[in-house]
């Protein structure tokens, strides 16, 4: 029998899993609060998903348009989320984002400037005013580097290329984490009083995605297996503009900044089709003609916003419909044109990495020709259910922040609201974890049997003589999710998906990774499959339960938002028999003051009447 004391062991007050924006910010906060802090991540430091964020970080600084303030940001967020957001989270986010952005500046971040020398802000879908602080189209890089430098300065323990496999409990409380070093394949045990999950999303369950290999839903699966509840898993955001050609780059993101800076969407007949897809609720705030949209772009404050800047769910569905009705581009997308809208020089300055990306990967010069774009799986609004103030999940001592957590974005996230979410809730989760640790009576001990079982489960894959190829199983899963749990869903398809997932689970139980455990990509892939399958099943089950169309979740058999679902969240958790179960839960009523702001007219908000 494996002797647990022989496994390399570290001890921390708080262990943070994930070194993207949320994890780094959480760890910095814990360290500031005197916690013995550790931070682990699958890749090298600075390579997490956050590095890829392009457009910007949303905060009502009011530098470009003085009319902006937290209330308008809050209202935009709620409207974008189709009023399913946790009210308190959306409030905290809108109130605190400006301070978090200014704090980054104090830590060395260099944002683009306005003519008065202040942090500049750009327009983005669903945001009433120019609100996204940015650095060209590489905002995420600036943010992660700044946080990374700050983390290095704090000097806490950082474990790179170290993957968490399983959360460990002592009784019902968190007691630690079992992981392994990618490099050596050796196991490592972290004893910790609190754990913050900042593991990001799970887009790799789909083939067409903007997500990297890290996004296998590890956080969702680990939380689920530890007994935590997941929430809002049916809301998977398809970003409207991913690359579609060549095939090998399909899914790679084209930032919304292209549309924020004036880019327009055209179908094969060269029509600006978005004018035909303006939802009722947004019609009073959206331009009615190209002429008006152009005036808005030039800064005319009486003009209304172009329809290309409607929320992502709306634009993604519109593109899908254009393509399905035969008005798509040659490779099954639509055209995104910035070339005819801005001088070449300006495009290269404002969107340098888009220019570079298309030039290098698609041999398209975006200053001369339109891009071909189509929807790509981008972001999970759902995740671990957390308390709005402390970010604690339903497992004592387990916290979650960033894309791993649910609630902030409701049924649909606005662009730019993720980076600000990471900063605001990263910090709050750090505060929450530190307070929890301070108040902890006795220190829970890791249950050793669980460690042994986890090690056995992981090593089985290596010791098999025969078995399925993990890459093939993963590809199979991506096909299933793309076909049956895509942008438009139906009961029949979702049920087929569940049957397919059972088959895939059986395949995954028989995978084999040839070779030794040292930096063995097949082994990593095999271990990731478990999390991918939990994630895929949670999304599918939740999608089946929600019988309406809201935000990013579209059911052909239940079109339109339904009043009875407005205050309902779908909860996913592990049942007593070990099978996944769902439950529909009524959300708390909002405080009157917040509801008044969310439902206010923009005129009343601007005149400060709410």
């Amino acid at each position: 029998m494996l002797d647990v004391s022989e496994i390399q062991t570290f001890e921390h007050d708080v262990l943070v899993i994930g070194a993207g924006g949320a994890g780094l910010r959480a760890a910095i906060e814990c360290s500031n609060r005197g916690m013995n802090t550790g931070l682990m991540c699958k890749s090298l430091l600075g390579k997490a998903h956050t590095v890829m964020a392009e457009g910007g970080v949303a905060a009502a600084l009011g530098n470009v348009d003085r009319r902006d303030n937290w209330k308008v940001h809050f209202r935009d967020t709620m409207r974008g989320g189709k009023f399913l957001n946790q009210w308190r989270m959306a409030e905290l986010h809108a109130r605190e984002a400006p301070d978090r952005v200014r704090e980054l500046e104090e830590w060395g971040a260099v944002f683009d400037r306005t003519t008065e020398g202040l942090i500049s802000q750009r327009n983005f879908g669903g945001h009433r005013y120019p609100r996204l602080a940015h650095v060209g189209d590489r905002t995420g890089l600036e943010m992660i580097r700044t946080l990374q430098d700050q983390a290095v300065l704090k000097g806490f323990g950082i474990y790179m290329e170290c993957t968490a496999l399983q959360l460990l409990l002592g009784g019902r409380q968190i007691a630690g984490v079992l992981g392994y070093w990618r490099e050596s394949g050796r196991f490592v045990l972290f004893r910790a009083r609190a754990v913050v999950l900042a593991t990001g999303g799970g887009g790799r369950a789909w083939r067409i995605t903007s997500n990297s290999w890290e996004y296998t839903g590890d956080g969702y699966a680990m939380a689920y297996e530890a007994g935590a509840q997941l929430m809002d898993m049916e809301f998977t955001q398809f970003h409207p503009t991913g690359m579609v050609w060549p095939p090998s780059v399909r899914g790679i993101l084209v930032t919304e900044g292209v549309r924020g800076d004036g880019g327009v969407l055209l179908n094969s007949k060269r029509e600006r089709f978005m004018f035909r897809y303006i939802p009722e609720k947004f019609s009073v705030e959206t331009a009615a003609s190209e002429e008006e949209a152009n005036r808005w772009l030039k800064g005319d404050k009486t003009a209304r916003r172009p329809p290309e800047l409607l929320t992502r769910d709306v634009v993604a569905r519109a593109i899908t419909q254009e393509v399905n009705e035969g008005r798509g581009s040659p490779h099954g997308g639509v055209f995104l044109d910035i070339a005819s809208r801005l001088p070449a020089e300006t495009i290269r300055r404002k969107l340098p990495s888009m220019y570079h990306q298309f030039k290098e990967l698609a041999e398209v010069d975006i200053t001369r020709e339109p891009m071909e774009v189509g929807p790509t799986l981008h972001y999970f609004m759902g995740g671990a259910r957390v308390d709005s103030d402390t970010q604690m999940t339903t497992v004592p001592g387990l916290f979650a922040a960033g894309e791993a957590a649910a609630g902030m974005h409701g049924a649909n996230r606005l662009g730019g609201n993720s980076l600000s979410d990471l900063l605001v809730f990263g910090r709050l989760s750090g505060i929450g974890a530190a307070q929890y640790v301070r108040g902890l009576g006795h220190v829970p001990r890791v249950e050793e049997d669980a460690v042994r079982a986890a090690v056995r489960r992981a090593t089985e894959v290596l010791n098999r003589d025969t078995g399925t190829n993990p890459y093939a199983v993963h590809e199979d899963l991506q096909g299933v999710m793309g076909r049956y749990v895509g942008i438009v869903r139906a009961e029949g398809d979702l049920k087929i998906a569940l049957v397919e997932l059972e088959r895939l689970k059986a395949d995954a139980a028989r995978v084999r990774a040839p070779g030794a455990s040292q930096y063995n990509a097949a082994w990593h892939e095999a271990l990731d499959l478990r999390a991918l399958l939990v994630t895929a099943e949670a999304v599918t089950r939740a999608a089946l339960v929600r019988q309406e169309s809201r935000g990013a979740h579209t059911r052909v058999d239940y079109p339109g938002e339904r009043q009875e679902w407005q205050n309902m969240n779908v909860i996913v958790r592990r049942g007593k028999d070990g099978r996944m179960e769902t439950e529909v839960e009524r959300r708390q009523e909002p405080p009157k003051t917040l509801a008044a702001i969310a439902y206010a007219t923009i005129e009343d908000l601007e005149a400060n009447r709410v």
């Binding site: 890749s43 997490a48 590095v51 104090e106 890089l141 490099e183 780059v249 040839p514 070779g515």
Partner: protein
Amino acid sequence: MSERLFRIWRGTAAGGSFVEYRVDVDPGMVVLDVLHRIQARLANDLAIRWNCKAGKCGSCSMEINGRPRLACMTRMNQFGGAEMIAVQPMKTFPVVKDLVTDVSWNYEQNRRIPPFRPKPRPADGQYRMRQVDVDRVQEFRKCIECFLCQDVCHVLRDQSRKDAFVGPRLMIRLASLEMHPLDTEDRVPALREEFGSGLCNITRCCTEVCPEQIQITDNGIIPLKERVVDRYFDPLLGLVRKVFRRK
């Protein structure tokens, strides 16, 4: 679709050799796509680092036909039809396995650099900077830490002087701090003594391989060297500057 011949270095710190793989290549593919295909079909345990597949994270650095490059930004159609493609790990860093190297040295150097020390905020709480001043440091802050410049720099690669010179990546990190409009720290003495700015002899090889097209040498290293020379060859100028600090 066409078949291509790849030679990939396989092995560990203990040694290794090139192994040949024949693989189908589709139009539009980059080298990283082909490596993934080889991994999925022919060599399941092949070790590669990658994340973004779009030249943004700096993970997939390797040497392709002898040139340090990002595999995700190297298109297959730039190689001649019959050309064999040889892929090996970065030479300057110790091999972990196959195409993965141990780049921890770079992180250690970064830790030695005196951190950003900002001016206090003005009374209204708003830092003000002009875009032109910001442009200069933003160029350096574009760095994706791919370490290709470190790989190619002969001081580190051929002369193995990692003990004396931090290399071009860390030089532009120093430049990004030294030229930051809000920073008040003085790193000039350390530049010469601890970070070895004198060892760079301006060959510009680093600038040539930088996927972010940062003018490492001309905009970063040379101005830093000038600061060192000013300070140390002209004590009077150095003194004046210390008193009237200019950034």
